[in-house]
Structure formats: structure tokens, C-alpha cells
């Protein structure tokens, strides 16, 4: 229910624009590095949304990048069928899995001040040196989660994607933590799944508290 109200909120936010189907879609862009589960994150997010009856589309930036290289993945959420196939150039939300990318890649490209930003870090936006950029953004849409630490704690390895989805669920309210957990369990199994679910829950909690 919380998730639906958030979508409603988005609708309200975009009522200024023409009421085309374009304005109904919610677009998330995820930045990270090869090996961090960037693509998986987008996919799990789409599954979480699907679990809640939404249409969702997740796709990677189709590179041939190897471990460590900057990677981007996309996820679109909508109440209706998603037909468009273009990359997300104007995201409604940004998930940054690796804060070191902030000064290497133009992660903020096409971002409007109404966007959500979730960064995997133990530091603050100020500490990350992006305070100037986010000035004018809605503070409640800016969030940091120590996803690596949570993953280390719950999964045993610094794999931040699941935890970040938990954080994103809390931040955006677009999907429930349960849906995220279900999505995680569809991608992973056994202890790995439960560890990631635990990390997501911890991140969810952390983000709510934030």
C-alpha cells in the first residue's frame, strides 16, 4: 500500500507534464562496477515490482565490460506495458553502488532535482563532495546506505546490490521490502539468498532511520 501511494505521489509530481504514458513511468538508473551485481540489482528490482503487479523492464547497458569497469543498468516501472527501449537518459532515481564512481563518471547526467539518489557509502553527501550538486534536491529523496558493510556482515562479501534494493525500497516506497526479499530469493538460493535478504532488511531499516 505504501508503494502505491508513492506512485501516486509521483503522479502528482508529474501532473505538470502532459498526461502521456511517458509521464507515468518511473525510471531508475543504477551505476556500479562490473562484479558488483549492478545488472542483477536492476533485474531484482524489476522482479520486485512485478511481484507487486507492476510492469517492469530491466536491462543492462550492454557493454562488454569486465570486472571493475563502470557499469550501468536500468529499470523502468509502470502500471502499463512498457514498450520503449531507449536507455534511461532522465532517471527518476539513481542508485550508486560505488561512490568512487562519483568523480569518474557523469552519474548525474540527465538528473532532475526531483530525483531520488541512493548512494552506497558510510559517508555523507557532503563528505562525498557532492553537496553542491544536490543543493536544490529534495533532502528526503537523498539517502546513503553502508551496503558494503551490511553485505559483509550478512553475506560475508561486499556485494551491495541486494542491500541497496532494501534501501531503495525504503527510500522510494515504490516496492515493499517483502517484494524485494522475494526478488532476492528468486535470484539466489539458500544461505546466500537469506544473507542478502537480511542485508536488504538492514539497509531498509537504515534508510528509514536516515
Amino acid at each position: 500500500m505504501a508503494a502505491l501511494s508513492k506512485v501516486a505521489l509521483i503522479c502528482v509530481k508529474t501532473t505538470a507534464a502532459a498526461a502521456s504514458r511517458m509521464t507515468l513511468v518511473f525510471q531508475i538508473r543504477i551505476h556500479g562496477r562490473g562484479g558488483q551485481g549492478v545488472v542483477s540489482a536492476a533485474e531484482m528490482l524489476s522482479i520486485a515490482a512485478f511481484n507487486e503487479g507492476k510492469h517492469a523492464q530491466a536491462f543492462p547497458s550492454f557493454g562488454s565490460e569486465r570486472t571493475g569497469a563502470p557499469v550501468v543498468a536500468y529499470c523502468r516501472l509502470d502500471e502499463r506495458e512498457i514498450r520503449v527501449r531507449e536507455p534511461i537518459m532522465h532517471p527518476d532515481a539513481l542508485i550508486i553502488q560505488d561512490p568512487t564512481l562519483l568523480h569518474q563518471v557523469d552519474v548525474f547526467a540527465g538528473l532532475s532535482p526531483s530525483a531520488y539518489i541512493l548512494i552506497n557509502t558510510t559517508r555523507s553527501f557532503e563528505e562525498l563532495g557532492v553537496a553542491d550538486f544536490v543543493r536544490g534536491f529534495q533532502p528526503e529523496r537523498l539517502c546513503t546506505v553502508p551496503a558494503n558493510e551490511l553485505a559483509l556482515k550478512h553475506v560475508g562479501r561486499p556485494v551491495p546490490s541486494a542491500a541497496l534494493l532494501g534501501g531503495f525500497a525504503a527510500l522510494s516506497g515504490l516496492v515493499s521490502l517483502e517484494s524485494v526479499a522475494q526478488a532476492i530469493r528468486s535470484k539466489f538460493s539458500g544461505r546466500l539468498a537469506e544473507g542478502n535478504v537480511a542485508a536488504a532488511a538492514a539497509a531498509f531499516k537504515h534508510a528509514q532511520a536516515n
Binding site: 502532459a18 502521456s20 504514458r21 530491466a58 543492462p60 550492454f62 520503449v84 527501449r85
Partner: protein, 410 residues
């Protein structure tokens, strides 16, 4: 059953439901996830009996499929790009021998320069290899087309290629409705081969045919493929009845009612186009879309009929014949050759270049006012190519000049 899965997985599920007996697997991006998933399904025992053969090349993949099909097994493989070209010889062979193999092509550009991203150059290059070529608009259709493809292939005894955009569809997670086994079984009866290698009734398949009969053989191949033009709508109709949704067919119109401009395209770009056309329609544009599902055989009549009311046609295509221009557009022109209307050709998305709504909207608006060159390259960095061309012209001149300078210097 609705599932949020990757396009490749959706295709693998569909293929598995079709009960292939021999699957040939060779990795090439962006097709790899399909055969990986099938391998997993076979090893799980869910698809049995089935031989999953890890071959050493695409040429071998198609060849193993040829052997398997000739021996009466339902055979499947998947490939892309260079892999499709590497099996080119075997493609002609499979169709020439009339073997109903089904193959997924995860469309991808052809090098050089090597490029792993999506366009249609691979399948377009094989448009005359005698295979039926079906193009999927989205993952649901990709899934559905495989079920139809096996039915069609075995009915006609011809191989069928299901083309889906590499990465854009193969790697996209989307909602798909995966049919259940009973539904597919009802639609697709067991393979009853038209000819089979069987010690009980020996035949020689693949004779050498000389000038005295080769024309007739080719004519019959043409006639047989043309039969698909009536069978495809029939099997699409049957599919609609059985599964309750549209899939396949020859071509499908979108908002072409009273459209002066109709945009023709194949594959996943249709989704973006439809969104774009929706916007243009909202601003009063009389524009629609014609999605061609069946590129080979080329549905002359269906295209002619769909474009009957248009005053101009724009073909957005992810491939081109170097030195000529559009490939699909030329096919469109032959379909409507009796009507002197402009057919604009928009070459787009080569090598994975994103096709954005904004760019499409811009080019379509120009087309609607007939303010467009006959061949346009969408989002081409014109400044860059001009610069390169200019440089090349200079370089070309510099040869003799340099020689003369050297001569002068003695």
C-alpha cells in the same frame, strides 16, 4: 503463467516447451544466455529426451542440427552476428534440404569493426538463404514466435529463424506469459518428418542437381516459401485462439487509421516507435506504424494492403546494404511499386546506437512534411563523418603530391 524473466530465459522456456530433441549450443553474445538456460533445463531433466550438444562452432551447430533434423529429430540452435555468418553455408544447406530447424538469432552487428551490440545486419545478410525469418517486437512475442516457428517449420519442411534484438530483448527482464506444456503440446504436434534417414527406408538426401533440374528445384523452393505467406496468418490465428494473444502473423498495423504517414519497422524498435507515434498523434499527426513480423518470405500483399492509405512511408531499419541504403525499404518499395509515394529510409541503431524517442520524433516530423532525404542516418554524428571524409579526400590527394614533392627534391 506470468513471469518476470530475462528475454533469453523466456525464449529458452518456450523452446523447452516445444520439446526439441537435439539442441546445439555454441556461445556468442548476445545469444549465450538462451543456450545456457536450455542447457540448465536439459541437465535438470525437465526436458527429456533431449541431446544437448556443445559444438565447436556455429558452422558445426547448424551442421549438427542438419544431421539431427534429417534423422527425424526436432532440432534447435541459437546464434548471432558473426556466428550466423559462420554458419551461412549451412543455412543455405538446411533450407535447400528442407529441414525444419528452428533457430533463434539474437540480432547483432557484423564486424569489422567488431561490435557486439544490436542491429539487424546479421539476419539481413542472410535474408536470401531460404529460411523463414520472423522478427520479435518484445520478449512475449519472442517467446510465442518460437512455438509458432516449430509449427510452421514442420508444416512446410523449411527452417525458421526467430530474430530478436540482441541485448535489447535478450537481456531485458520483462513480464512474459509462459504457456503451460499442455497448451504448447496442443498447438504443436510431434515432429512428423517429411523425409528421414532410416535404414528401413533408405534414401539419398542431398543429391547433386545439374542445370537440367536446378531451376525447377529453386522455383519449388520459392513456391514453398511463398506458401508460408498463407500459412503464417493461419498459424497466428490458431495461436490467438489457443493462447489468447496476438503473435506472429505477417505484419501488424498500429494506429494507421487515416494515417498519412506510416512507419515501417521490424523488431524491438517498434515499441519505441509506438510510444513516439502516440505522442505525435497527440499533437495531431496522422501517423501510424506497420510492424513487419515476417520478413522472409516478404509479405508483398500484406504490406501493400497495410500501406494502402498512406501518402508516404518511413522505414526505420537497423541495417543497410552498403552502397545501396535500406534493405527493408527496398522491399517495401517493391510491395507498393504501383503507387508513386515517397518511401523514406531511416537507418537507425547500427551497432547498438540507442534509438531514442526524441530522435525518432524529430525525424518523423520532418518526414511528415516531406522534409527528409530519402535515406537518413538517425543520430549520425555528421560533423565527425564530414571531418573524416574531408581528411580522406586530403589524404587521397596527398599521395601524388607527396610523390611530386619527393621528385622535385630529387
Amino acid at each position: 503463467m506470468l513471469k518476470q524473466i530475462e528475454g533469453s530465459r523466456a525464449v529458452a522456456e518456450a523452446v523447452a516447451l516445444c520439446r526439441p530433441e537435439v539442441i546445439c549450443a555454441y556461445p556468442i553474445s548476445p545469444q549465450t544466455h538462451i543456450v545456457e538456460a536450455l542447457g540448465e533445463i536439459v541437465s535438470s531433466g525437465r526436458l527429456a529426451p533431449c541431446e544437448f550438444v556443445n559444438v565447436e562452432s556455429e558452422f558445426a551447430a547448424m551442421s549438427v542440427a542438419i544431421g539431427a533434423s534429417a534423422a527425424g529429430a526436432r532440432a534447435y540452435t541459437a546464434t548471432a552476428s558473426q556466428g550466423l555468418l559462420y554458419m551461412a553455408e549451412a543455412l543455405f544447406n538446411a533450407s535447400g534440404l528442407g529441414l525444419p530447424i528452428v533457430m533463434t538469432v539474437a540480432n547483432r552487428a557484423i564486424g569489422a569493426p567488431i561490435n557486439i551490440w544490436n542491429d539487424h545486419t546479421d539476419t539481413m545478410s542472410q535474408r536470401d538463404c531460404g529460411w523463414i525469418q520472423l522478427f520479435a517486437e518484445n520478449n512475449q512475442e519472442a517467446l510465442d514466435l518460437h512455438v509458432i516457428a516449430f509449427r510452421l517449420a514442420e508444416e512446410l519442411s523449411l527452417p525458421v529463424m526467430v530474430c530478436m534484438d540482441g541485448f535489447i530483448l535478450t537481456h531485458a527482464y520483462e513480464r512474459v506469459d509462459v504457456p503451460d506444456q499442455a497448451q504448447v503440446d496442443a498447438y504443436l504436434p510431434p515432429f512428423n518428418p517429411r523425409q528421414i534417414l532410416d535404414p528401413a527406408e533408405p534414401v539419398s538426401i542431398g543429391a547433386m542437381v545439374g542445370p537440367e533440374a536446378f531451376m525447377e528445384v529453386r522455383y519449388l523452393a520459392h513456391a514453398k516459401q511463398s506458401q508460408a505467406l498463407s500459412l503464417i496468418p493461419r498459424w497466428a490465428g490458431a495461436f490467438r485462439q489457443a493462447f489468447g494473444r496476438e503473435a506472429g502473423g505477417l505484419a501488424r498495423s498500429y494506429r494507421t487509421e487515416e494515417a498519412e504517414t506510416i512507419v515501417v519497422a521490424l523488431g524491438s524498435v517498434l515499441g519505441t516507435l509506438k510510444d513516439t507515434v502516440d505522442e505525435l498523434r497527440e499533437s495531431g499527426g496522422r501517423i501510424g506504424v506497420l510492424g513487419v513480423s515476417c520478413f522472409r518470405p516478404w509479405p508483398f500483399a500484406a504490406v501493400r494492403e497495410a500501406l494502402a492509405g498512406a501518402q508516404r512511408v518511413v522505414v526505420v531499419e537497423k541495417g543497410m546494404a552498403v552502397g545501396v541504403g535500406g534493405i527493408v525499404s527496398n522491399n517495401v518499395r517493391t510491395a507498393i511499386s504501383t503507387r508513386p509515394i515517397p518511401v523514406y529510409d531511416v537507418v537507425a541503431g547500427l551497432g547498438g546506437r540507442p534509438i531514442t524517442k526524441a530522435s525518432l520524433a524529430a525525424v518523423l516530423q520532418r518526414a511528415m512534411t516531406d522534409d527528409l532525404e530519402l535515406t537518413t542516418f538517425l543520430d549520425l554524428d555528421r560533423a565527425l563523418v564530414e571531418k573524416v571524409l574531408r581528411k580522406e579526400r586530403e589524404v587521397r590527394r596527398s599521395g601524388p603530391i607527396a610523390e611530386q614533392v619527393l621528385k622535385l627534391k630529387g
